[in-house]
Symmetry: C2
């Protein structure tokens, strides 16, 4: 924060607070699915988001490195399975993103109602 | 669309329809500001979004190449001015993004209300 930050109130834009790690479309989708189900099998995620395995892996790695998801490889019977879980930090980051998006949408909807009367 | 696309209804995820050209955080911010004011001076945009000139220029170029904004350089008196205007296609793309984000948020809020009763 600059000491001479005299930005008028209400001028800071909600997109400034978005975090690219979460906001990127594929990662946002993965976090949304995991937020809903807490844990998901890799193949389920891949199908839910209509991604290639390589693309999903790459994005999960970014999320894992940021501590937002945990990836566990194991077996179910003889079949290899990869489970993906959202972490507490992941949930918080996802809900922060959703809050910023709500604020963005509120502004768009307010603007649609007519010119600023303030 | 694959002819064997038998994805159950309601499974297609709203983030699949997001367009990176619009969704990227800085460009989303620029489009949001331009959607509100139709046209804005480069410096105004830069300050509203708290960006460096180089960063904003780079993103405006992506939007201009996609036909979503128009950039006009001119003078106001002796001062060089750059005006940025959202195009009809830009407005449509922005509102599509907002519609997808609303759908995403609706799902998150629905999930927060408790387990699926369907």
């Amino acid at each position: 924060m600059s000491p001479i930050d005299e930005r008028p109130a209400g001028q800071a834009h909600p997109t400034q607070s978005l975090d690219d790690t979460v906001h990127q479309r594929t990662r946002l989708g993965a976090l949304a699915v995991l937020h809903e189900s807490a844990q998901a099998e890799f193949t389920f995620l891949r199908e839910a988001l209509d991604l290639t395995a390589g693309n999903l892996s790459r994005h999960l790695q970014v999320l894992e490195e940021a501590g937002l998801v945990e990836v566990d490889k194991g077996y179910e019977g003889r079949r290899p399975r990869t489970w993906v879980r959202i972490t507490k930090a992941g949930r918080r980051a996802f809900l922060d993103e959703i809050a910023q998006l709500k604020e963005l949408i509120r502004r768009v909807d307010d603007a649609a109602e007519g010119p600023d009367r303030g």
